[in-house]
Amino acid sequence: MKLVTCNMKLATIRKMIKLKINNTEIEVEDGTSVMKAAQSMGIDIPNMCWNDELEHFTSCMLCMVKNSGTGRLLPSCSVKAVEGMQILTEDEEVVESRKTALELLLSEHVGDCEAPCQVACPAHMDIPKMNRLIAAGKLDEALEVVKHDIALPAILGRICPAPCEGACHRKTVDEPVSICLLKRIVGDDGVEPNLSGIEKTGKKVAVIGAGPAGLAAAYYLQLKGIQVTLFDKNEKAGGLLRTAINDEILPKEVLDREIAAILKTGVLFEGGKAISAEKYAEIKSGYDAVVLATGALAENAEVFGLKANPKGIEADKSTYQTSDEKVFAIGNVLRSSRLAVRSVGQGKEVAHSVLQFLNKQKVLGEPRLFNSRFGRLVANEYAEYLKESIDTKRTLPKSGVQSGFTRDEAVAEAKRCLHCDCRAIDDCKLREYSTYYQADQKRFNTGARRSITKQVSHGSVVYEPQKCIKCGICVRLTEKYTERFGFTYIGRGFDVVVGVPFEEALEKGLTGTAVKVAKSCPTGAISLKE
């Protein structure tokens, strides 16, 4: 008898049903959710409140799909597949629904993905990360971080007008962190990163013009395994850096040392010859791609035979590709600018475009991710940020700005960083989906924003409630693992918050589950400290 019952149970479990997802038929076990059915076909369904350890909850509403039979949208995480169902997962209405849901969530998600300094930096350098390494005394590692985006830190550390410091959150209540001088000491004192072991692609690219843009482009292309030849009309590389800047501000040895470091990566330099139309044609046919970084010179356009306007050569704003698909243009040749850091940043970005072009991929340029931003930091929030920083005045180099920071000064100053970047920057579903669906955070910017708070008392995790999107995963996980206090919903409606009951400290709410909860948070509300 027992055996029979058992078989019957198995039989019911194994009942299969057929449905169509995006017009493809699929067979799944009865009871399977539409989301799981779609995933089993390799279809990606965005979700934030779903967690494999837990029952479905249906709060984020990102997993909407369309039942084309009824025309209705339904949350696929919690709707079970039914025989004969017809589902569309990427139809226009579904996409709009997901985008709208994201925009609603973003309107109550108060936090920065990247720190405002990084967003403001034309080269998009990861400044908070550099600051943390400097504060820990790790200048060599800091240099690696800097050189990921800025090929000429010691130089820029002397001449950059530092738009980053203008955006520093600390500026609204105190003085900004002295980012530029920090970058300078990293460039001066850090040991160049070891770049051995880069795989060669066998491709050849010519970079014409060895100013800041060309040097940077050469450097980053070379790092991508491309053999670069850098052409310049002058004997020595450096462009305007060598000719237009006072030696006291930018000593030649600093310039030479940083250029040498770039050439050391294997870049071939051919200087002393102006590029004529014939020479240009020769280069173009001899190389897989060309990067123009010749600076603001009027005759360029004719020599290169590219589409141009009165300001300079025309190129795509994000890929720098010109009217000739093989030719890319960066720096002052596009538009005259005195901002070397912009040229240096473009040198880095164009390397992405060129590589995509060489790999016959769609040329999109450097991937740009969605950035959540909340605007100005206000005085009462400053105290919250100071929980992870120190309340000291801006450090001034003892021996004058001209000579830069000493190591001790640099460490002290780097500690002033408020670490505005999100810890979950590389592991945030909200950011990932907002990028994919091109969500606009400002769309529902209709009311006052919430005031930011930070809970940092826990040994291993940090909680930033205003980033919470109320998916309830932490509430459900702490319940499942029977935390004594755990997390709970407090209040209701728009004003609902997730927190530890009785306003107990974070470390009381999260004991054994802290790491699991932080890892399960779909955004950066609860994140691991390190």
Partner: protein
């Protein structure tokens, strides 16, 4: 040892130590301490299986619970729809000024009064309404706040002086009926009752004193009906205690003793509130034959409210005498459960809670479930801020509802049922509790009902204040002791509901109509109304209508018939503008569509919905953008906060509406609002979010020009305070009445000269305009 420990231990022992006892335990704690002390809650977590997270989650979800101590007395300002359109916000602001409350603080410095807004006190016809502890004040104007507090101070502690009197029963000269619905009680019927008892006691008259449920004529409360054994009955409306003696005397011959006591009886009871204090002497003697009353009641068709005003809610013999429990008897004797389901299906009755799902199909689904345990729930969580049908039905016809539920239980094979009633309806809870007890005593409930072998038990679950709990999955979550989070359907409660068992959830009004269907036959019910909306519907008619109240009308009646014939048209000679049907889930139907018949389909077509049955009439002075904003502020607050579209979507819609009504609207706002409304409707998880945009969408549809005017800085009706200015025109006679009323000294004291208003100081409380005897205050 904290003072709370013994009490908590006792509560756990009494109510249980698992999650499903949580809400009742919290209710008891709050009842005792007036709030939920943290130490008590912590101790509860320590001593029971309920976790801290569950306790805080639940305590912070339901609006009934307070986590902080409050003042000695609670001032509850009703901001229901009817009160809103009659100036509740000004009244609330006036109380705040009177108590000198700073922003964000709700208790005065002395710790004496705490003020709070409440969604609806269910006295819509007395709007605006304020309740201080147990005393209700109706028709409150913002300049009467000081008087009210004084009055409350003077009557404090003098309450509960009434003595019950048992009518002798023999040799009666007649009957005096007193309405004891919440509306009547709120308007002072308790005092009338006390006075009648006093008069009757002291005179030695042999009349029976009868408490009847709500008559529905809430615009005339308190009502007293005198029914002599000989002669016509007379109905007295808006009776004052001092009138009682005269009324009684004019109908009944008192024994000699009466005259001697005459002088003594002249003492009037001092504890009367509401109308009497403000309206001067206003007494009507109305008879059923008089036109207004006849038309108020004449067009109606009572099924759920059968024998309204005639039967004592708790007198089971009288209920039986009038056909009560005969349907149940008939069902037990002659129908199989399936036959009952068939009758219900054929009657065409659809859920009266708003959705309009066919009741018979729901019953069938539950009936088919093979489960030993199934549950029945009467949904009395009436959260619509402009409706009080369920409350009235529960208070006035408890047996009718019990009978309907018993029939449902028999038809679907259920042996355990719940009454889910809002805790804000204490009288309803009390009546049902009493009625259940009496039913048990009469073997109408319990084991082996009427010898049929059928067992059925009911228990009462008091809802703790959450509009979303009207949604059945949220209601179930709430009974299970959780936050009222709805969940996705399917599975429907019929398959997996309360505690995972098949569950039948029907609205109170639906149950109140079941006995009629089975007693009279489904054919008779189906004949009433329209083809797809059969039977009758109970509505709470309120707002700017001349005669408001509880009405029961056949489906298919037009809006015009309801407003003009039953409601007597618009009050104060104003022009009819629109009617808001269905509360926060419904919409506004403009005057030009007044001939729309009221049924499920046609209302939906018009962008409104039946909802629970609130019917708030608006006149030309009402701003439609403000109405939309009002409802959104309600749903936004009542959103459970679970799904993105509702939690954030309703808030963002409200933001846009607040911007528009405060003069910060910009081009494009209307389009964005419309788009967001559509997405909130499409993307929300449950009915609350899916219907929350209706008030916005329907006003956008019919009154878009008003939205556009606001964007251009003009509120056409002068309701939106940020867009208007008060000024004095040449009619001014310099009487200084406005000066004395102005709470912020914005009008200089210039007797015999034309006054002026300092618009910088003016807070637009409207007190000056109300006080002006010559219409000299302009609002533009």
């Amino acid at each position: 040892m904290s003072e709370y420990f013994t009490y908590i231990d006792q509560l756990i022992a009494e109510k249980g130590s698992t999650k499903k006892s949580l809400i009742p335990i919290l209710q008891s704690i709050q009842k005792k301490y007036n709030y939920l002390p943290e130490d008590a809650l912590r101790y509860l977590a320590d001593r029971s299986e309920i976790t801290s997270a569950e306790i805080i989650g639940v305590a912070s979800f339901y609006s009934q619970f307070r986590l902080h101590p409050v003042g000695e007395h609670m001032i509850k300002v009703c901001i229901g729809t009817a009160c809103h359109v009659k100036g509740a916000v000004q009244v609330y602001d006036a109380f705040r000024r009177e108590l000198k409350l700073k922003e964000g603080i709700n208790t005065d410095e002395a710790g004496k009064y705490t003020i709070e807004k409440v969604a609806c006190l269910g006295c819509c016809t007395l709007a605006p309404v304020v309740q201080i502890d147990g005393t209700t004040y109706g028709h409150v104007a913002s300049d009467q706040v000081e008087q009210i507090i004084e009055d409350f101070e003077s009557i404090k502690g003098k309450k509960d002086t009434g003595k019950a009197r048992k009518a002798d029963g023999t040799q009666l000269q007649g009957e005096i009926r007193i309405g004891l619905g919440s509306c009547c009680v709120a308007s002072g019927s308790k005092e009338i009752q006390e006075e009648v008892e006093a008069v009757v006691n002291e005179s030695g008259l042999r009349v029976s004193l009868k408490h009847v449920g709500c008559v529905g004529m809430c615009h005339q409360v308190p009502l007293v009906e005198v029914v002599p054994n000989e002669g016509e009955p007379t109905l007295y409306a808006k009776v004052k205690p001092e009138d009682v003696k005269n009324i009684v005397e004019s109908h009944f011959q008192a024994p000699g003793l009466f005259a001697k006591l005459k002088n003594k009886l002249m003492h009037t009871v001092e504890t009367i509130q509401t109308d009497r204090n403000w309206e001067g002497v206003e007494r009507y003697e109305i008879s059923m034959r008089e036109k207004p009353v006849a038309s108020f009641l004449g067009n109606q068709l009572p099924i759920a409210t059968e024998y309204r005003g005639m039967i004592n809610p708790l007198d089971i013999n009288e209920y039986k005498k009038r056909g009560g429990f005969s349907a149940l008897q008939k069902v037990f004797e002659s129908y199989s459960p399936q036959e009952v389901v068939d009758q219900i299906k054929q009657s065409g009755i659809r859920g009266r809670g708003g959705g309009g799902f066919p009741t018979g199909i729901k019953w069938e689904a539950v009936r088919k479930q093979n489960s030993e345990v199934k549950y029945l729930i009467c949904n009395g969580d009436e959260g619509d801020p402009g409706a009080f049908m369920d409350r009235m039905l529960l208070e006035s016809y408890p047996y009718r509802i019990i009978e309907g539920m018993t029939i449902a239980a028999y038809a679907t094979g259920i042996h355990h049922g719940y009454f889910y009633i809002r805790a804000e309806y204490p009288l309803a809870v009390k009546r049902i509790r009493e009625a259940l007890k009496i039913c048990h005593e009469n073997n109408l409930l319990g084991k082996n009902i009427l010898g049929t072998g059928f067992d059925l038990d009911f228990q009462i679950y008091e809802g703790a204040g959450a509009f979303v709990c009207g949604e059945e999955t949220a209601l179930i979550a709430s009974i299970e002791g959780n936050r009222g989070f709805p969940r996705i359907r399917p599975p429907f409660p019929a398959e997996s509901g309360l505690f995972g068992k098949p569950t039948l959830v029907n609205n109170t009004e639906t149950f109140a109509q079941i006995a009629y269907i089975l007693r009279e036959g489904w054919e008779k019910f189906a004949e009433i109304g329209t083809a797809r909306s059969t039977g009758t519907k109970v509505f709470a008619l309120a707002g700017k209508v001349a005669r408001g109240g509880l009405i029961e009308v056949p489906m298919g009646i037009t809006i015009r018939e309801v407003i003009e014939e039953i409601g007597g048209g618009i009050a104060n000679g104003k022009k009819f503008k629109a009617v808001q049907i269905g509360g926060p889930s419904g919409g506004c139907i403009p005057a030009e569509f007044a001939d729309t018949p009221i049924n499920f389909e046609s209302l939906q077509e018009m962008g409104a919905m039946m909802g629970s049955g609130g019917l708030v009439v608006l006149d030309e002075t009402d701003c439609m953008v403000d109405i939309a904003r009002y409802f959104l502020s309600f749903t936004q607050e009542e959103s459970c906060g679970k799904c993105t579209f509702c939690r954030v979507g309703t808030r963002r819609m409200l933001d846009i509406l607040e911007n528009i009504t405060s003069g910060k609207g910009k081009q494009g706002d209307i389009q964005e609002l419309e788009k967001l409304a559509e997405w909130t409707a499409k993307g929300s998880l449950c009915g609350l979010g899916r219907t929350a945009p209706n008030p916005v969408l329907s006003t956008l549809k019919y009154f878009r020009d008003e939205y556009e005017a606001h964007i251009n800085g003009v509120c056409p009706t002068g309701k939106c305070s940020h867009l208007i200015k008060y000024s004095v025109n040449d009619n001014c006679i310099g009487c200084t009445k406005c000066v004395q009323k102005c709470p912020v000294d914005a009008i200089p004291f210039t007797p015999h000269e034309k006054h002026s208003i300092d618009t910088e100081l003016c807070i637009k409380c409207d007190a000056c305009r109300a006080a002006c005897p010559v219409d000299a205050i302009d609002v533009k």
